[in-house]
């Protein structure tokens, strides 16, 4: 091959790749014959829902398969070598050298036993790309380029001593340290708060541009991928749906599936009639041990409406829910429900007071006993609160299943036999079984794919109308808030920043924190990040 056209050569060429995974005693296809071409310096976004095979494909581009997976067919040609034909020790010569990886959870992906700088520079030193002191100097320079605080000394810390957003940037520095030809980013900002996400995205984008590194960016978040990628490939069930240049993909997707992904956020709620408050939280202070987490919190929830509580991790939104339910007795202040003051401690509340407030959790998985069938899970509150037994109970369980749009056959299933969305529906049915007036939804859709999220949100809205329910909807996801809420409460560091009607909170002028939060939510515009940073820097 002549050196003249080397530039035009693809860095990676994946041909008809098939990967299988082993589970339930047999091999299942995960990737069903996908092609992928990536040029030097190009950034490709891989998007799709869970189970689409995007992480598997991203790792396969490095020639890596997770334990329990195998490549059954196809080629992965990286710079002229078919990685699929190499054994592990041959591939080790590429990993950490010509290709690197940035994982989703930086907190779990750094070895807790070693200092950050040693982990950052390990690959570059191992492959003799740089000697130790040069590698460390370079790492510090990368830390600085990635806007990490104290770039000279932050590397001397251990992973648990820095925050999640900082770790994610250190991991980007680690990926960049050997100056690879390819970086695979696997959902690198999914676990971060939006305001942190902006910083990390900016840092990653600028460093990838600076060194003209090719990258594969895996995510389920379209707005994020729009900022990073030159081209976008959409995957579903291990097949490619379509691939196009980013702007074209955003404005004119060709396939119906892609269009459905794009349109999820079109959900809109008709504003509820403003009624008198059903729940009033007044001047609440709360603490875990000596650590005070809520400071003088006031929230009022009108009957029959949805009040969304938004905030980042550590803002105190879940703690507020724990105080309302009595799981964490407040230090000061009171909670009025229907004009009645609720006892602080759960133990002091009557059965009736417990019945009218129910809760739905983020992790439907862990909120259900894995050994109980749907019948037992939904039947328990029916028996406990309403004394229903035998045929009456059975009838009511079936009614509830019908309400959450699942048919009768689900009654004997175990949680492990349900999909993520179905599990969350069962949790909703369990909450409804108590005939509550008020339901606290704590991040109920954040563990779900977008299309499944939409189904759950629609169901919650329908149930609200039919049963005149009031929701306190805790979330960090602004687009969910826009979709379903009547009123919005913004919380930060244990304080309420503002509360008001959705239209008021979302239209300027904003308090500073609300402004920061709202402006950090990625938009489906490839120039959004650039424009945002220009605005913030000016």
């Amino acid at each position: 091959m002549s050196s003249k056209n080397q530039k035009a050569d693809p860095l990676i060429q994946i041909n008809n790749l098939k990967i299988e995974g082993f589970s339930d005693e047999q091999w299942h296809p995960i990737i069903k014959g996908v092609n992928l071409t990536l040029k030097r310096g190009q950034v490709m976004g891989l998007i799709g829902e869970s189970g689409a095979g995007k992480s598997t494909l991203g790792l396969a581009a490095m020639g890596y398969t997770q334990p329990g997976c195998r490549i059954t067919d196809g080629e992965i040609i990286f710079d002229g070598t078919d990685l699929a034909q190499l054994n592990d020790s041959a591939k080790q010569q590429y990993w950490g050298n010509r290709m690197t990886y940035v994982a989703q959870s930086a907190a779990a992906s750094f070895n807790p036993a070693h200092r950050l700088i040693d982990q950052t520079t390990a690959s570059a030193i191992r492959f003799k790309i740089k000697n130790e002191s040069d590698a460390k100097k370079d790492a510090k320079r990368l830390y600085e380029a990635l806007n990490l605080p104290n770039p000279e000394s932050i590397g001397d810390r251990y992973p648990h001593q820095v925050s999640g957003g900082q770790l994610q940037r250190v991991m980007t520095a680690m990926a960049m340290s050997p100056r690879p030809d390819l970086i695979v980013f696997d959902e690198p900002t999914t676990a971060l708060d939006v305001t942190t996400q902006v910083e990390v995205l900016t840092a990653m984008k600028s460093i990838v541009e600076e060194f003209n590194t090719a990258a594969i960016y895996i995510t389920h978040d379209l707005a994020v991928v729009a900022q990073m990628a030159d081209v976008i490939k959409v995957l579903r069930y291990g097949n490619e749906i379509e691939e196009a240049e980013t702007r074209k993909m955003l404005t004119a997707p060709e396939q119906d599936y892609t269009k459905s992904l794009w349109s999820v956020r079109s959900l809109e709620k008709k504003p509820a009639k403003v009624q008198e408050p059903i729940l009033e939280i007044q001047n609440i202070d709360a603490a875990y041990g000596k650590f005070k987490v809520l400071h003088d919190v006031n929230i009022s929830v009108p009957r029959g409406s949805t009040v969304a509580v938004v905030g980042e991790s550590g803002s105190g939104k879940s703690t507020t829910a724990r105080v309302i339910t009595g799981l964490l007795p407040q230090l000061a202040g009171e909670i009025k429900f229907d004009g009645q003051i609720l006892p602080k401690r759960l133990e002091d509340r009557t059965k009736e007071q417990k019945r009218i407030i129910q809760m739905i959790y983020q992790m439907a998985d862990t909120a259900m006993n894995p050994r109980q069938t749907v019948r037992e899970i939904i039947g328990r509150p029916l028996e406990f609160y309403l004394n229903l037994k035998g045929r009456e109970k059975e009838k009511r369980i079936l009614e509830l299943l019908d309400m959450i749009e699942l048919d009768d056959q689900f009654i004997d299933r175990l949680p492990s036999e349900l999909s993520g969305g179905q599990k969350q529906r069962i949790c909703i049915a369990r909450a409804l079984a108590a005939n509550p007036k008020f339901i606290i939804c704590d991040e109920v859709t954040s563990a779900l794919d977008q299309i499944v999220q939409e189904g759950i949100l629609k169901l919650l809205m329908r149930l609200q109308k039919e049963l005149n329910l009031t929701y306190l909807f805790i979330t960090h996801d602004i687009s969910t808030v826009r979709a379903i809420s009547d009123e919005v409460v913004v919380m930060n560091l244990g304080e309420v920043v503002e509360q008001g009607l959705k239209a008021d909170v979302f239209s300027p002028p904003h308090p500073d924190y609300t402004e920061l939060l709202l402006s950090s939510v990625p938009e489906m515009d490839p120039d959004w990040l650039k424009n945002l940073n220009e605005r913030r820097n000016s």
Binding site: Y94, Y101, H160
Partner: protein, 326 residues
Amino acid sequence: MHPVLQTVLGRLGLGLATLFVVSLIIFSAIEMLPGDFGQAILGQAATEETVAAFRRELGLDEPPYVRYLQWVGGAIQGDLGTSFSGRNASGTDRSREVIDLIAPRLWNTLFLASVTAIIAVPVSLFLGITSALYRNSVYDRTINTTTLTTISFPEFFVAYILILLLASLYPIFPSLANVDASTPLSERLYRSALPAFTLTLVIVAHMMRMTRAAIINLLASPYIQMARLSGASQTEVILKHALPNAWAPIATVIAFNLAYLVVGVVVVEVVFVYPGVGQLMVDAVTSRDIPVVQGCALIFAVTYILLNLIADIIGIITNPRLLHPK
């Protein structure tokens, strides 16, 4: 004060508290033993007055709490009391200090335990790490099966098999391990070889399997995948990325087995006629020599607590979250 030092001091305090509770338990357990030393020594024919006089002489007529305080007070100063045996009613007292009885035996026991530990711990770690490294290979399966086999047989059986093989059929080592204070070191090592070998076979399986399990358990962590994707070889992944995070469980199981070497090897001592502290204690129980039984039990308790304390401290100092707080 560094938080690790604080934790370590806290653990030390807890260890002392445990020791206090254990001393109470030892004392009351022995208090509840059936039979009476005076009666046993003097025989059925002795009159009640003689027995009472004998009991008075030994201080057995004092109320339990006084005797407990005397015992604990003495133990703190290194005085475990005087053995009951060797006394008789006739007046001549040939009894010995408990400490003089226990000390040479304890020295023998510690010697055997150390020799075994010096062989068994590195061997277990090596086998555990390599079998994790070559997981599910023929090597791994062979190691697992062999160690499981040796741990499954009773100790005396292993001991007799070794005697049969290495003392009888191929007379390399002596079958009797009778050592005393005058035995020179090389001779001592030679005579202790078979008991040490037996004990090694008994304890290796546990430590080796725990090492293997602790490492394999970590191999599923995201940071191990990350290490592989940074080009680390399998050996580097295990030694540099998994092992440093696996010390706490490994240290615990090693401590447990070392404690067993001190307190639980009476069967092996009997088979090889090795004069260790286990035999001493069994003999003392038979002859109702209460001060000796109490002394042995207390030393066993100290061994257990001390070794577990060390394992705890290893767990703390190998945990960067504790060693380098935020």
